[in-house]
Symmetry: C2
Subunit: 351 residues, 2 copies
Amino acid sequence: MPESKPFTVACPTPLGDGGHVQLAHGGGGKLMHQLLEELVIPAFRNPELEARHDGAVLHIGNSRLAFTTDSYVVRPLFFPGGDIGTLAINGTVNDLAMCGARPLYLSCGLILEEGLPLEDFRRVIASMREGALAAGVKLVTGDTKVVDKGKGDGIFINTAGVGMIEHEVTIAPSAVRPGDKVILSGDIGRHGIAIMAVREGLELETAVESDCAPLVEPVQALLDAGVALHCLRDLTRGGLASSLIEIAESAKVSVLVEEALIAVEENVQGACEILGFDPLYLANEGRFVAFVAAADADRAVSILKECAVSAGAAVIGEVSNSPAGLVVLKSRIGTHRVVDMLSGEQLPRIC
Amino acid sequence: MPESKPFTVACPTPLGDGGHVQLAHGGGGKLMHQLLEELVIPAFRNPELEARHDGAVLHIGNSRLAFTTDSYVVRPLFFPGGDIGTLAINGTVNDLAMCGARPLYLSCGLILEEGLPLEDFRRVIASMREGALAAGVKLVTGDTKVVDKGKGDGIFINTAGVGMIEHEVTIAPSAVRPGDKVILSGDIGRHGIAIMAVREGLELETAVESDCAPLVEPVQALLDAGVALHCLRDLTRGGLASSLIEIAESAKVSVLVEEALIAVEENVQGACEILGFDPLYLANEGRFVAFVAAADADRAVSILKECAVSAGAAVIGEVSNSPAGLVVLKSRIGTHRVVDMLSGEQLPRIC
């Protein structure tokens, strides 16, 4: 007779003894948060890290600086609307912008796989050059490593960024207040679908291009106009849903958004329906949400509409006291549902 | 009759059309310099990058900051005297120290391979925590990506660092002057041999431990004492030889060093003889050279000897006008030879 084994739950306890890293640990969802909250953040406890912002705000001399980093492991390296080089500039520039900083300087750490065609490397460097010029940042320091064939995947890029905070405003989840309006800067889901379409050889009627772009201009425009900005977040891994949930949880507020107000391009919506994806969770590389005092919301939308990258800006919802930590979506037919964080990511290696 | 093909030179022209990245492109030698000088630096031309220092010196507000980055891809992850986590802290901290900066803040970008045992991840994070505490830096922002099994190699770590330059001294190759003394902070070659011994299962009479350590204390001691410091460089990839050559070329000076004055531990020397390595080219992770005005050299050595990490400091040579750009080694038997830069690295993936 076989020995009876105790019932074990394998799924929600991946960090127990003997566990292994899973792809979903890098997906921007629940598993990644668990990995960071249990293993990483406790090791380095400090106020900057615990702010859980897109970057750290540092006080150096009389200056306030923003400091951030991201590694880019997107597959494939080239996709409609950009490549890993474009992403590596804009992703880090945008994290600085989301801290309310003017991006100034980037570092660049390259991990190349032996056998990478130099022509691919040239293309990526050219994209980084163009991206840096477009975003107004200088790449000032770098490092290059090469790993054996089969121990990497073409190119991985890390960029870290330093930006200057030139105002006194606190832009962070902790500054979000009940009554704030939630502004979305444009249509969502294009980066995720652009990557997926190439990866899966999906033929769409009109090709979907990544929205990858620098977000410096619209953020500076809001700051220059003195709009009462409370929080900014770009909608990368985990998409609009994860960004809103992170902010609602950090700020201990409730966020209600209306599905009908969230723009999704027709071909993105079509691809989502075929593939069973929810656009709320798809990664974007040129979209952000702004939490703004209600009195300034209309003015903020007008300012954003003046910038090409945020021409599709719209108020999509608002903040209230309770239920604290929850994001609720009002559907097109008027029903309400709680928006939950995914366990991992719909698409691994999206950025 | 077979068609006669034109004679082609494959080796010294790896950046021609149709080339591929080779392991040696990451080795800190000639090929890496060629890759950077031909493909990377021209794309981002700016004075900070062209200083070709271990980090960039930035002017922000009234402050001078140092900013640097390194990715760590060492294999194996764990070795006598440290692991990839120790390296990732000390390597970047040391690059800041070599800019004459007080290291303050680090970012951390992790690229994990699916299937990595979480226990290994925990050990590496614990080493990073200890390393950051020992070096007096705060890890304030980070990012985690996961790549599919077989597309990475356990853990790759990027750290970028920000430090404060609290003095008016210019510490750079451009400040080196004929007559300067060259001070080496201790014995060389231990990191390279420690890695090699584990990788090749080499049994040495006494195990060689990596010299991996933070170099903040000795550099601060020199600065605090007002020593006329002209240039600092840590001796990582490419070892003492490559560091001296880089400085001699940048500063357009000649550097003469005496073999008999360069300390190499007996078991490191023994391993080098067995393996056919030259300790001058072996990587170190806790050693540096200081170029100091001759009048201050003895005082600088005394100050360095007070710090445990540089207790073995000694003057090993001096700078002269010509032959510009060359490093010359006076051997134990009195002969002179030009020290050349290696094409790649004796040992790939040493850091």
